[in-house]
């Protein structure tokens, strides 16, 4: 048996264990198991996984561990509860993610035990972001977690959520395989910030599926600073006319880390707007992947879609694979995409050095400047400072090429 087949067999064993529990989530788990049994862990023959190999994760014997969220107390206008403690039966869950397309989400669904639901009440205007910390403590054997979050923004409401993934510096490998479902009702607005700053022994996969109703608005910001291997799938369905999404990302590759962002924006109806800005900084022998797919369905006229992916390579050993993919089936649309790969500008480096900054400081400053645009949009001054400093620290820890 190959290592991959052996890993699939072990993971299916975990799925079977989970399937023995009988609770309201059992049917969903069965659907997850069925999809995962059909696909198994993806290998690099699958187009969506061409550049990202799960090989380092496959060799480990994962044990399932519960996810903890430690949410801050919900502000007025927000209801927050777990799937198990749901006040009125089991809330809708699992209807936004395509399990056949996403093997890891299928695995997470097969192992689903509990999750967190965040729901705004209609027309609530909640300025303060709701913060969820999905940190893991010191661990002693390879642990797999499948945190699940469902966010429902009710009609006319506005809210912001911060998901913070960090982990204790000590401990063995951990694999966070998160699924986040977001449903945004008419004229509602949600701003999602995802912070991924785990250590070099952490594997991280997240699958975020978003649906927008008429005139709804979604802003996401995914900041990846750590983790051995990070794969983010973000799928946004513009299902209501006049809906808008703005997807930003910043990923930092240091050491031999791999950061892979796959986005899919599906313009299903007319007058949708989408903006994407992903910026990558890659050092050492790290590897970045960006694949941005935009679909404009037949009839989705007056779609306005723009995508940009710019990358800064800090070393000769770093690599980026960037691929925009536009599939346009309507004729009255405005779609653009651009990607760039560059190094630090020699003239700018000389300018800073001629002002007495040494080469290391100059490189760090230019790198921070490249990322600043993404940090500037973070929802609080505290986060801007904290993340900016953490980014600077991680960049500074890299040696000069």
């Amino acid at each position: 048996m190959s290592a991959l087949a052996a890993a699939n067999a072990r993971l299916l064993g975990l799925c079977d264990e989970a399937a023995r529990r009988s609770d309201p989530l059992a049917a969903l788990r069965r659907a997850g198991r069925e999809a995962f049994a059909a696909s198994g862990l993806p290998d690099t023959h699958r187009e969506e996984w061409k550049y990202t190999s799960l090989a380092p994760l496959v060799a480990l014997d994962w044990a399932l561990a519960p996810a903890s969220f430690s949410p801050s107390a919900p502000p007025p206008g927000i209801e927050m509860f777990t799937l198990r403690e749901s006040p009125a039966g089991t809330p809708r869950i699992g209807d936004l993610v395509d399990l056949k397309e996403h093997p890891l989400a299928a695995l997470a669904t097969a192992l689903l035990d509990d999750g967190l639901v965040i729901r705004s009440i209609p027309n609530a205007d909640v300025a303060r972001p709701i913060e969820l910390s999905l940190s893991t403590r010191e661990i002693h054997r390879p642990e797999l977690r499948v945190p699940r979050v469902r966010i429902e923004a009710a009609r006319g409401s506005r809210l912001a959520v911060v998901l913070d993934h960090a982990c204790a510096a000590i401990g063995g490998p951990r694999f966070t395989n998160a699924v986040i479902e977001i449903d945004i009702a008419e004229n509602a607005q949600l701003e999602l910030t995802v912070l991924q700053r785990e250590t070099g022994t952490a594997f991280h996969a997240s699958n975020t599926a978003v649906r927008l109703a008429r005139d709804a608005r979604f802003t996401s910001r995914v900041i990846t600073l750590g983790g051995r291997l990070v794969r983010n799938d973000l799928s946004v369905l513009l299902a209501g006319e006049g809906s808008e999404c703005s997807l930003d990302g910043l990923y930092l590759g240091t050491g031999a880390r791999v950061v892979d962002n796959h986005s899919l924006v599906d313009h299903a109806v007319p007058r949708g707007t989408s903006r994407q800005l992903y910026k990558g900084v890659l050092a050492g022998t790290s590897q970045g992947v960006f694949r941005g797919r935009v679909i404009v369905r037949p009839g989705a006229q007056k779609t306005d879609a723009a995508q940009s992916n710019t990358n800064l390579l800090l070393s000769n050993g770093a690599e980026i694979d960037t691929k925009p993919q536009l599939e346009i089936w309507a004729d009255d649309v405005k779609c653009s995409h651009g990607s760039a790969i560059g190094r630090l500008d020699e003239n700018a480096l000389f300018y800073l050095r001629s002002r007495a900054l040494d080469e290391r400081e100059a490189r760090a400053l230019l790198t921070q400047g490249f990322a600043a645009q993404i940090f500037a949009a973070l929802p609080s001054e505290a986060l801007r400072e904290e993340l900016g400093a953490e980014f600077a620290r991680r960049v500074a820890a890299e040696t000069l090429p």
């Binding site: 800073l352 001629s354 002002r355 007495a356 400081e361 400053l365 921070q368 400047g369």
Partner: protein
């Protein structure tokens, strides 16, 4: 003190340099003493900006022969940042835009790098604010430019004022102004010149690179040199600039190149 005054601040001997495969400087001799203002003129392509870049240590410029002594110390082998800390300053002809880095952050880092080198205490945010406000007034710079990204979206005049502001903050011993007057209207030129003159003192020197005699009405030089094809073709007093303005550079080429520097 008299001993110190006698030693040249900058002494260039037989300097040759190339950029890529192209030989640009073909034997420069120039001596600048503290307290002096030297103007360097010459047609496009004569090597003025290359000389400025070589002095500041631009990595892509290669010195192939000769020596440069700054305050008695050989400059070759010193990194650009080491030269800056020793008191060399180059005001760029085309100041660089640095997106995402505020002018305030950049200037404070630069000032503190120099202060640290001089064994002075570094300035905190409040002290730096006070210092930068004072210097900005001298160059007539709008305070809001401090919270903007370095030179990003600055007008041509704002960029040049920002260069002079940096010079005032870093208090160099030798300031090289590379066509700081280009693209400035007369009012901006006056302000920039007054900033430069503010810095003039007995223990500092200036090397002013310009195409036009106009700037030299405001920053009056002690010596004027004309660079032609990588050599100093002619040196004289401030009246030489007027002569060049009247006659152009053509007449110089008909005469044999002057054998050396101002002294």
């Amino acid at each position: 003190m008299t001993q110190h005054e006698k030693r040249p601040l900058l002494e260039i001997r037989g300097l040759e340099a190339r950029v890529g495969e192209k030989q640009i400087l073909r034997g420069i001799d120039l001596t600048i003493r503290a307290g002096e203002v030297h103007a360097l003129m010459g047609p496009n392509g004569s090597g003025k900006s290359t000389l400025a870049g070589v002095l500041a240590g631009r990595p892509s410029f290669e010195v192939t022969a000769g020596s440069i002594h700054f305050d008695g110390r050989e400059l070759q082998g010193l990194l650009p940042e080491e030269r800056a800390r020793e008191g060399m300053f180059l005001a760029f002809q085309y100041p660089i835009e640095i997106p995402g880095v505020t002018n305030n952050y950049f200037l404070k880092a630069a000032v503190n790098a120099v202060r640290q080198h001089r064994g002075q205490d570094t300035l905190d945010a409040m002290d730096f604010l006070a210092l930068s406000r004072e210097k900005m007034k001298i160059v007539g710079m709008k305070p809001e430019l401090m919270s903007r990204a370095v030179n990003e979206g600055f007008s041509g005049g704002e960029k040049k004022r920002n260069e002079v502001l940096q010079m005032l903050l870093l208090e160099p011993r030798l300031a090289i102004l590379d066509e700081t007057d280009s693209g400035l209207d007369i009012d901006a030129l006056r302000v920039v010149a007054s900033g430069v003159n503010y810095l003039r003192s007995a223990n500092r020197a200036l090397l002013v690179i310009t195409h036009y005699q106009r700037l030299l009405e405001y920053i009056v030089p002690d010596f004027v040199h004309v660079l032609s094809e990588g050599r100093i073709a002619h040196s004289g007093g401030k009246e030489l600039a007027l002569e060049l303005e009247a006659k152009g550079y053509g007449w110089l080429e008909k005469e044999p190149p002057a054998a050396g520097a101002a002294q």
